[in-house]
């Protein structure tokens, strides 16, 4: 019998003991975001059966725009011509994905669905200096007309690859590879000195 997963889940940032570092107020606030379930969804954008299966399972159409995000607490982000990322709350317990898998199977199994829930760690960067801090390590243009809230991009930030989801003009979530998370966090803190970065729990 599998245990309740929430007890055994361990963040790669746990070893940093962020609690002991928390506090202060600065131009930018760093925190670990809530863990999510996430899935790579692959398929042909122009394959009607595939698109219908996705819509049937998730209730949202396949986003066609690069880097668009759809849904309220679930995100479906287009990351490549035939690649999407489905990000859903942990509390969902894999239901979205299960539905998607069965719809895809019913449609004759187009595309691919791969669970990568453990592959990334979510780090939230917020505050009026959030873009400045991120801009120390990425060449992405953060002008809200170029990168409006609600959108996501996959890019390189500092020492890691990251999927950046812009929640608001000055609030971002970064999904970074789990094995890099600790180094990346430390890099953020170091670069954040310029902005008096504070840590929130």
């Amino acid at each position: 019998m599998a245990d309740d997963l929430s007890d055994i889940r361990r963040s790669p940032l746990a070893g940093l003991d962020l609690g002991s570092r928390a506090g202060g107020a600065g131009g930018v606030l760093l925190s670990e975001g809530a863990a999510r379930e996430s899935f790579i969804l692959r398929g042909q954008a122009d394959d009607a059966a595939f698109a219908r299966a996705v819509e049937a399972a998730l209730g949202i159409g396949l986003p066609q725009e690069p880097a668009a995000a759809v849904g309220s607490d679930a995100l479906l982000i287009r990351l490549g011509p035939d690649e999407w990322r489905l990000i859903v709350p942990l509390a969902d317990g894999g239901q979205f994905a299960a539905r998607l898998a069965s719809e895809l199977a019913r449609a004759g199994g187009p595309g691919a669905l791969v669970n990568v829930s453990s592959a990334t760690t979510v780090i939230a960067v917020a505050g009026e200096r959030a873009t400045d801090l991120l801009a120390t390590g990425t060449g992405i243009d953060f002008d809200p007309t170029a990168f409006p809230p609600g959108q996501s991009v996959r890019t390189r930030v500092g020492n890691t690859q990251a999927l950046i989801h812009r929640q608001a003009v000055d609030a971002f979530e970064l999904h970074v590879p789990r094995s890099h998370a600790r180094s990346f966090w430390e890099w953020l803190e170091d670069r954040g000195r310029e902005f008096h970065a504070a840590i929130a729990l």
């Binding site: 692959r42 199994g109 453990s118 592959a119 400045d132 789990r178 990346f184 430390e186 310029e194």
Partner: protein, 982 residues
């Protein structure tokens, strides 16, 4: 403490006289004001000698005003804190600043090195190429050490720079380089039009040339207009104003670097330098012009300086470079300079204008007169004036003065334009090199484009700003351009007047006119040869004030037009950039993230000694009380082989493969056949590079009809993924296959040893582990230690073994639960060393063997290449060299002396004498085998397989060690594989 004898009673828009500061130069204390530069502070104090020249150790004074300064380089701070080669003109005075002269002993004022100057005649340009050749090793043994001692300017650094440095990467519609009248006008026009603007100027205050000399804009003071414009820009959120920010480089696709030196002393979080990387759609180059020197004997004496700098010290700092000046030059600016100096309290001894006729009544003008020589050695005491058209026998006239303001005309700053690969046009009539066709998207304006009147600069800047905004899609109305009554600047005629004597062209490297003539005479005639032969323009100022003069002199020496001589290549940075700024954010884990597996915290808590595996760290071994490293590793091996061990294999690359054509594709990328795998089964696979060499290996498991999971070596995770995508997207795009890198999602641990089945049986009670239900190379989904997992039965150690994979978030739980479950089995965690020993005993290859030169056959894996299918790299195996006899083949070596230990990096030779001769082969992996009680190795040996049974020598010539060993098959341990079945 000394007073400020050369501070004028009033004036100085950059200084705050209510805030005096103290500073030290070469051990003497002086006073200056908030806002002073070190140069203005020293001048105010009457310090004239601030440096010594490179070669002849001649005394040198302040020459310029800003970043163009060739002479006044100093070191600030002492020992660990020292910063060398800073320009006194760019250092902001701060209270307690300590600065020192360089390249002199005991001090720049009294320098023993000056004696070298006496031998100056022996040291023309390039003298070192002509001597110091005998005896054969004479150069490096005798002369070079002496030369090296004389090298360099400032002291060698004694400690790292621990200041904070920052970076920022931004996008702009318009970057404006230079904040003089042209640049500010450009920025204002572009910003009003709606463009995202970055305006950067290297000075503390915007205004450019107006900082040095007043000018009128819109019927008022020019600087006041600048301030108003800046105030307007400051209110706009789409504008970024950068002061003390030098645009240092112009790179591909309109990327520019800007080194900002935020005001010192603000707060600890303020970086010493913030390096901006600006990706601009359009660029306005409004970086102004540099004043040229005049060439006369002694033009390097302390007190001889740029006229606009002399004016600038008076205007910006209220500092006089002396009491009595000779202003000399070839253009109208000398009158304005003389008047400004006179107004500040300087006596005007003469104004020598090389042009004949004209002149102004209010100044002691000498029309048609030039300076022939500066008199004085430690400082100027006067000049010898001579008629420009005079005959050599004219004696000229000596005029006393204590400084000389020389105005040789202006050279537009072409640096950024040229870095962007713009063309350069020589305007013969004006004697100017002007920016021609732009490279990259940019436009030059103002003095940088050869426009020297204020009105013209404003108009051109405004138009450029507007055009740049338009080209980046912004067209809001902007109003009319600012105007100035200063509408003409009276160009300087080209007059590189030259008399006899030591006429310095490059002050920093002591390059004289004679050196340039010598180079030309000796055949070093390309301008680039002259640069390299004489070092002209190679100093820390990169020839800002000297290149043009050198160019003209060379052209004259060769009797060829300047346009044909050309310039040397302009290269970044415009002014030197701290290496620490370039490195910011990229040190240590900031550069290479340290990858940690899900069980890393446990390993660390356990005190594991780590080793690097690519960017990952992995436990090398787990130290035990009272045991040496080697003993510990042996124990880990013994306990695993005799009981059960656990190892973290979370670093292996993992790829999920799905799609209708997955089987077809896997057959193509592996040398052996994969398509025949049944669901729930796995196979060892070998990947080749297209050139036939072994690329990678791993295990492929079939999870479903069209679903596979494969592992890669730790080192090749990314390379394999990229390889797969390359093939799928460019070579076989018709295949429907989706590959996803799932390395980060999965954690895996391997249980190995005869006890593994029992332990796993308890941890996964629902799983039938019998050979029949769960054979070798099978994969099963199961609950292990309460966690959903995938379990593979496979072995790397040669023992019965299972790899258990769980999502990485559960990895630590899996690890700790297995360890507690295994307590009764004496479960031993083992590290990479023990793993390495077991794999060598078992003869598995790694990157040490598959080193990119070896074929499958070399490694004894030739039989894996399936004969009846295509695949990447297979065709290359038929090339003659890959089938040739005599290739090095993988063998095992068993060391005969059981006490011997193999040192790293050994060769394999026929004899033990280690005399020069081609060796037979080399060791690829080696260890002491606790299982066999002797050292063993894997090696690549010429015709190795045929040598089985022979004795060879494992040798290490550098340490003198060697040992005899028997050639054996590479699988030492359990060649029949019986142990895999427990």
């Amino acid at each position: 403490m000394r007073r400020q004898p050369f501070r004028a009673a009033e004036g100085g828009h950059l200084v705050d006289r209510s805030e005096p500061l103290r500073f030290d130069f070469d051990g003497h204390r002086y006073e200056g004001y908030q806002g002073d530069s070190l140069a203005s502070g020293l001048l105010a104090a009457g310090v004239r000698i601030v440096a010594r020249s490179f070669k002849y150790h001649r005394p040198r004074g302040v020459w310029g005003f800003g970043s163009e300064e060739p002479n006044a380089m100093v070191t600030t701070g002492i020992r660990e804190d020292a910063r060398a080669n800073l320009k006194a003109t760019e250092i902001l005075l701060s209270d307690g600043l300590e600065a020192f002269g360089q390249n002199a002993w005991p001090s720049v004022a009294w320098d023993m090195g000056g004696a070298v100057g006496l031998a100056g005649r022996l040291m023309p340009a390039g003298f070192y190429y002509k001597t110091f050749m005998a005896p054969t090793r004479g150069w490096s043994a005798l002369y070079e050490p002496l030369i090296r001692r004389m090298a360099g300017f400032g002291p060698a650094p004694a400690a790292p720079d621990d200041a904070f440095y920052a970076k920022r990467r931004i996008h702009a519609d318009v970057l404006v380089a230079g904040g003089g009248p042209a640049g500010v006008a450009a920025a204002l026009a572009a910003a009003r039009a709606g463009a995202r603007v970055v305006l950067a100027d290297e000075n503390v205050r915007f205004g450019g040339a107006l900082l040095r000399m007043p000018g009128e804009i819109e019927e008022g003071d020019g600087l006041a207009w600048i301030d108003t414009a800046i105030a307007e820009l400051e209110t706009m959120s789409h504008v970024c104003l950068l002061r003390r920010a030098t645009v240092t480089g112009y790179y591909d696709h309109n990327l520019l670097t800007v080194a900002e030196r935020p005001d010192d002393d603000v707060e600890p979080s303020t970086p010493a330098v913030r390096l901006w990387f600006v990706r601009a759609r359009d660029v306005v180059l409004a970086a102004g012009a540099h004043e040229r020197p005049l060439l006369f004997d002694g033009n390097d004496r302390p007190g001889v300086m740029s006229a606009s700098a002399a004016a600038g010290y008076a205007h910006a700092y209220g500092v006089l470079a002396g009491r009595q000046v000779v202003v000399a030059g070839n253009n109208d600016s000398i009158y304005a300079v003389a008047r400004l100096l006179r107004g500040a309290g300087v006596a005007i001894a003469a104004v020598a204008d090389s042009r004949s006729g004209g002149g102004v009544p209010d100044l002691p003008c000498r029309m048609g007169w030039v300076v022939e020589r500066a008199v004085g050695s430690r400082r100027v005491r006067g000049v010898l004036l001579r008629r420009a058209d005079g005959k050599p026998e004219d004696k000229g006239e000596r005029i006393a003065c204590d400084f000389v303001a020389m105005a040789g005309g202006w050279s537009p700053t072409l640096h950024l334009h040229a870095q962007a690969r713009g063309s350069l046009d020589y305007d013969e009539e004006r004697g100017l090199i002007l920016p021609g066709r732009a490279g990259g998207v940019n436009r030059s304006a103002g003095a940088a484009a050869g426009r020297f009147d204020l009105d013209g600069c404003l108009a051109e800047g405004w138009a450029a700003g507007l055009a740049a905004a338009t080209s980046s899609g912004h067209e809001r109305p902007v109003g009319p351009p600012p105007r100035s009554p200063n509408r003409s600047a009276g160009d300087a005629p080209v007059s590189w007047q030259v008399g006899p004597g030591k006429r310095f062209v490059d002050l920093q490297y002591d390059v004289t006119a004679a050196d340039i003539e010598l180079a030309a005479r000796e055949g070093y005639q390309s301008v680039e040869h002259v640069k390299r032969y004489t070092a002209l323009g190679m100093g820390t100022d990169q020839g800002k004030t000297s290149s043009m003069a050198g160019l003209v002199l060379l052209s004259e020496a060769l009797g060829r037009p300047v346009a044909r001589t050309g310039t040397t290549t302009f290269r970044p940075p415009y002014t030197p950039v701290p290496i620490a700024a370039m490195a910011a954010g990229l040190v240590g884990e900031g550069r290479d993230a340290l990858r940690r597996t899900a069980a890393d915290d446990w390993h660390e808590a356990q005190g594991a000694v780590f080793t690097a595996a690519g960017l990952w760290r992995r436990p090398r071994y787990y130290p035990r009380d009272g045991m040496e490293e080697v003993e510990t590793i042996e124990a880990e091996v013994r306990e695993t082989r005799g009981g059960v061990g656990i190892v973290d294999v979370g670093t292996l690359g993992k790829v999920d493969i799905q799609g209708r054509d997955a089987r077809v594709f896997l057959d193509l990328i592996y040398a052996n056949r994969i398509s025949t795998l049944g669901i729930g089964r796995g196979r060892y696979g070998l990947m080749l590079r297209e050139d036939g060499r072994v690329f990678d290996d791993g295990v492929i498991m079939r999870l479903g009809e069209h679903h596979f999971y494969l592992t890669t070596t730790t080192a090749h995770q990314h390379a394999v993924m990229q390889h797969i995508e390359f093939l799928l997207q460019t070579v076989w795009p018709e295949l429907e296959v989706y590959a996803s890198d799932v390395t980060e999602h999965w954690f895996a641990a391997a249980l190995a040893g005869p006890g593994s089945r029992a332990l796993l049986g308890r941890a996964a009670p629902e799983l039938d582990l019998s050979d029949a239900a769960f054979p070798m190379m099978a994969v099963r989904a199961a609950t292990v230690a309460g966690l959903s997992a995938l379990v593979f039965r496979m072995s790397y150690s040669g023992e019965l073994s299972y790899e258990i994979a769980v999502p990485a978030d559960h990895g630590l739980a899996l690890w700790t639960r297995l360890l507690s479950e295994g307590r009764e089995d004496d479960l031993t965690p083992y590290g990479t060393e023990a793993m390495g020993v077991m794999r060598i005993e078992k003869g598995h290859v790694t990157h040490a063997e598959a080193d990119g030169r070896t074929t499958p056959d070399d490694l004894g894996l030739g039989r894996m290449v399936s004969a009846d299918k295509r695949g990447v790299g297979k065709r290359s195996l038929d090339l003659p060299a890959l089938r040739q006899k005599g290739r090095r083949q993988l063998v095992g070596l068993s060391v005969i002396d059981t006490q011997a230990r193999i040192p790293p990096g050994c060769q394999v030779a026929e004899s033990s004498d280690m005399k020069p001769a081609p060796p037979l082969g080399h060791i690829t992996s080696f260890c002491y085998s606790p299982t066999f009680g002797r050292a063993i190795a894997l090696a690549l040996v010429e015709n190795g397989r045929a040598r089985t049974g022979q004795t060879v020598h494992i040798t290490s010539p550098m340490t003198g060690l060697s040992m005899a060993a028997e050639v054996v098959p590479p699988v030492f341990y359990d060649a029949q594989g019986t142990r895999l079945h427990g």
